[in-house]
Symmetry: C2
Subunit: 406 residues, 2 copies
């Protein structure tokens, strides 16, 4: 008898019919004789609707209150899923994040899990119950409710799998798995049957929305195999696990892209210590994440500082950066909101110069100008004009023969 953790996303439980469908799938797993713990997201657009309500009563809702409000979405879906299972004759019980022992820090709206106390879950499993846990939420030492921010329910699922010693964590969503590129851009994109944690993290960080990098990271840390598959079909999905990298060494695994990219360039600033610190501290305080940072060594004592932020945060970032740049004597502060990234991901990428060269040639043949380049061990990312991203992804997918499959 194994213990498995399943997670179902919001689109999989969007209405009563879909909830019953998910209950059927859970029942199948239980019928195999396994112990089953299920993590569930809020139904469909519930979270957005609750946020809308909050902004109807307050221009700037308090984060503590917003977390309590949003946590109700997952509680609603967890009870309905439990009722649907009971209606089918299965023993089940719903638990809130707090009841399930998800303890977090007190950073409201993006809390981190500090520890999981699985005592209650184990007790319910031992009684024969299927345990349905409200995802995306936890509780502080002071018994205040928190939410885990983006990718929260995935993170709940992997954390529970780790603390329960589960055999596998199955993430059921509205896509069939992880693809060599976004199938909406590249119809020939192939589903990967498996991928390593590191590559998955890079894919997720650089635009593949199928799973949040944070949950993948947790999976790697505790060595929990994660299956990503569709909740609507019986397709076998993609297994994310530790073994994959070794078997498929030195091969491009996939192409990620991101259209939510904007660039700020502080041009002609005196090259002395403290400039970058002043700018990035100010952005960090305002909660603005900076992705790529490039400082061009200029002529003499003048330098250019370029970095990217999410498109939605550009205007806020500019308002913060401009006065700092001016006070430091920068020539000008320019921005471009219409950028995108395209990333080539695979093990050993950085140590194999051929890949980078081939990537740049493919883009140049398509007359796509590269604005910035960043790399990691297993990734090469080019920042290009947003309206060329689609062409770039298609050309690279073809050039690296990803339509051939594994």
């Amino acid at each position: 008898m194994a213990l498995i953790v399943q997670k179902y996303g919001g689109s999989s439980v969007a209405d009563a019919e879909k909830i019953k469908n998910v209950a059927q799938r859970i029942a199948q797993a239980k019928d195999k004789g396994d112990q089953v713990v299920v993590v569930v997201s809020a139904m469909g657009d519930t979270t957005d609707e609750l946020i809308k309500l909050a902004y109807q009563v307050s221009k700037q809702p308090d984060n503590r209150e917003l977390d309590v409000l949003l946590s109700t979405g997952e509680i609603v879906s967890s009870t309905l899923l439990t009722m649907a299972l009971e209606a089918m004759g299965y023993e089940a019980i719903s638990l809130s994040g707090a009841q399930a022992g998800i303890r977090t820090d007190a950073v409201y709206s993006q809390a981190r899990i500090v520890e999981v106390d699985p005592e209650r879950i184990i007790r319910e499993l031992d009684k024969g119950n299927i345990v349905i846990v409200a995802g995306f939420q936890g509780v502080t030492e002071e018994m205040n409710i928190t939410t885990l921010g983006r990718g929260g329910s995935d993170t709940t699922a992997v954390a529970l799998a780790a603390s329960l010693g589960a055999e596998i964590c199955q993430i059921y969503t509205d896509v069939e798995g992880v693809y060599t590129a976004d199938p909406r851009l590249v119809p020939e994109a192939q589903r990967l049957s498996e991928i390593g944690y590191e590559e998955m993290m890079e894919l997720a960080s650089y635009g593949a929305r199928v799973m949040h990098p944070r949950a993948v990271e947790l999976g790697e840390l505790f060595n929990i195999p994660i299956l990503v598959a569709s909740s609507f079909t019986q397709s076998s999905g993609t297994l994310i696990y530790g073994g994959a990298s070794m078997e498929v060494r030195n091969k491009v695994r996939g192409i990620a892209h991101d259209l939510n990219v904007a660039k700020i360039a502080v041009v002609g600033v005196p090259d002395r210590p403290g400039i970058a610190a002043a700018i990035f501290e100010s952005l960090a305080k305002a909660g603005i994440s900076v992705d790529t940072i490039v400082q061009n060594a200029g002529l003499g004592k003048i330098t250019d500082l370029t970095f990217t932020v999410a498109r939605s945060q550009l205007s806020k970032a500019i308002r913060l950066v401009r006065p700092i740049a001016e006070s430091m004597g920068a020539k000008k502060c320019v921005s471009d909101s219409k950028l995108g990234t395209v990333s080539l991901i695979g093990p050993g990428m950085q140590n194999t110069p051929g890949y980078a060269a081939r990537m740049f040639r493919v883009l140049s043949e398509k007359d796509i100008n590269i604005q910035l380049i960043t790399t990691s061990e297993i990734r090469i990312t080019c920042i290009i004009s947003g309206d060329r991203v689609k062409d770039a992804v298609r050309a690279l997918h073809q050039a690296f023969e990803l339509e051939r499959g594994e």
Copy 2:
């Protein structure tokens, strides 16, 4: 500096605008320098909508899960009200029933409060916070969520007022207070400026929907003055407290009525022990409340057993009672679903025979047939045809000169 507890019902917080209006009223109380604890119900029809969802996934939703589901309604309204207060510059915090220390037994869907641990509320008040508590809910020793059943939020408010030693518990609702009769039936009905706990309990038990008798009972037990007033006007409402009875001794205070009444009569049953027990045990097991019970001493060894139930439970009750009646040799088992009650309520009623006689005369003059009569210390109730209830209430209101006010 006094401590007051306020409670706002679902119609008072039905949308964002109404929530902001309630926030204004709470702010006024806070501005007077008092410590304020607020209990809030779920927004408008939220509870009904959640119940509908539950029945979409299950024909018979489990009570434990239903309680968790329904408890989210009050959590949503409590966070929104807190946000609205914060937007006005007030310090406030929302607490769930569990966080507010409402401990209950484990009778899901109609849990009883076992104790209140007000430690967290006191801590938040000491920080200067207005504390907004989600009504209608509590938590068991096992940390399972419960709901308190009908009148739940009123009960939460009075229980908190008692445990915090509040000066007063203010129940804000969509009516202006307690009236001598339902103003929709009797336009001349007068608002009572005050009423005793006992009379209020009888009024509430026999049809006045303004407050649940259970919360009034708790108020009497801990001697908490309860003000019932409108959340939409500045009208002064009705004060329910211990002193009232003495001052207005021997006076009809109000007329309650109830149209949700059905009667079952088991006719011609052998008069031997055990018959009533068999019938009422069976009804109790099915969760059917029986109100009035009358056993008519018949001729010889034959008796008639008559009792009333809520109209909505009649068909279920009949299905249970008929086979028992038949097995005991009853002649027949008849029912009438179209009954109503009219009740005269005031202190010392039973000890002043004149009231009963006058009541019966008034009804007879209107040609209204009395089917059953029940009395208490402070109440006389007649069960009559449902379609004559309106006439009966009006005639009695006039005969006892209630339009004159106090």
